[in-house]
């Protein structure tokens, strides 16, 4: 546990008294679960506050917690290189089409990370107009990392079902 965990909570709670929904401590990592509406302001605050200087956005991770509610959550892993401390902000998201604000103006790399989240999990970010298909072909339907998206498993060919599968396998021609 980094010794700044308490500091993060105090500072954020002072500045945005109603923003923190929950504080989670698990395996020495502190998570501040915050309201979606406050996210961008908190990020800006974390970056500019003298004692925190969180100048480095490590990662944005989206999580699908089907069947829980709210279904989605977005995690921001934020780190401060000068102070050597880190924090995770977790934002519950009800409606993926009405996602959190983009933090691209705070850390430019966020535009790039948000693109991945949108492509694979389908959560939009307000203010990021660069969202596009990145990993998948442009005409792909759906967002594969969601829990209700099938894995797309194909039957494996063994000796007992060799012929049946061979017959319907689309072999290429010259």
């Amino acid at each position: 546990m980094s010794n700044s965990d308490g500091l993060f909570y105090e500072k954020v709670n002072d500045a945005f008294p109603e923003s923190i929904i929950e504080v989670v401590d698990f395996r020495g990592e502190r998570t501040l679960v915050v309201e979606q509406a406050y996210l961008k302001d908190i990020c800006l605050f974390l970056r500019d506050e003298e004692d925190l200087v969180c100048n480095f956005l490590e990662d944005i991770v989206a999580d699908d917690m089907l069947p829980e509610f709210p279904r989605f959550a977005v995690n921001y892993h934020i780190y401060s290189i000068p102070k050597n401390h880190h924090i995770r902000l977790r934002v519950p998201v009800d409606d993926p089409d009405d996602g959190p604000d983009s933090v691209g103006t705070v850390w430019p790399v966020a535009y790039w990370l948000e693109m991945e989240v949108w492509d694979l999990m389908g959560i939009t970010f307000k203010g990021n107009d660069k969202l596009r298909r990145l990993f998948l072909p442009e005409d792909w339907q759906g967002h594969p990392l969601r829990k209700d998206y099938p894995l797309g498993y194909e039957e494996v060919q063994f000796s007992f079902n060799w012929q049946a599968i061979d017959a319907k396998k689309p072999y290429a021609k010259d």
Binding site: P150, V156, A172
Partner: protein, 160 residues
């Protein structure tokens, strides 16, 4: 070269045209410089100092498909890559062969999911499959020798 001692001073060698052509093809198969994933690293090892594929006349990797005879599909082929792969194959000039290197290229390997084509034989006709994840360079060399064997038995009309 050693051949002279065996043949003596004959001056003339007679053979079938087909054999001569196939002999030439096996000894200068130029692969396409085209790596996809982990297997490509083993393909590079095969080319590099230790395993030295130039012993088989194939040290020359051609980045342009127009100059290549052999496509080594080294790695997994995603749904996004599949059209590109087929396009590259179509651009190669005849005669051309394909080696599917690694489990992923042969059958999808450990990735049985939405993103990976379950075997490149759905996209391009494959001549030799090399098993392994990744196949050792020796295995790839063996695959190449198997291909040479196959080429030696080919008829000229097949490519005409």
């Amino acid at each position: 070269m050693g051949v002279e001692q065996k043949l003596g001073n004959m001056g003339v060698v007679t053979t079938r045209l087909e054999d001569l052509v196939n002999w030439g093809r096996t000894n200068s198969t130029w692969p396409m410089l085209f790596g996809l994933a982990c297997c490509a690293i083993e393909m590079m090892s095969t080319q590099a100092s230790h395993y030295d594929a130039s012993r088989f006349g194939m040290e020359l990797m051609r980045p342009s498909p127009r100059q290549a005879d052999l496509m080594i599909v080294a790695g997994r082929v995603s749904r996004k890559m599949a059209p590109v792969l087929r396009r590259l194959y179509d651009q190669m000039s005849d005669p051309k062969w394909v080696i599917a290197m690694g489990d992923c290229a042969s059958c999808g390997g450990i990735f049985n999911n939405y993103a990976i084509v379950q075997g490149v034989d759905e996209i391009v006709p494959v001549d030799v499959y090399v098993a392994g994840c990744p196949p050792r360079p020796e295995a790839l060399l063996d695959g190449i020798m198997t291909l040479h064997e196959k080429v030696r038995g080919e008829k000229l009309q097949e490519w005409a």
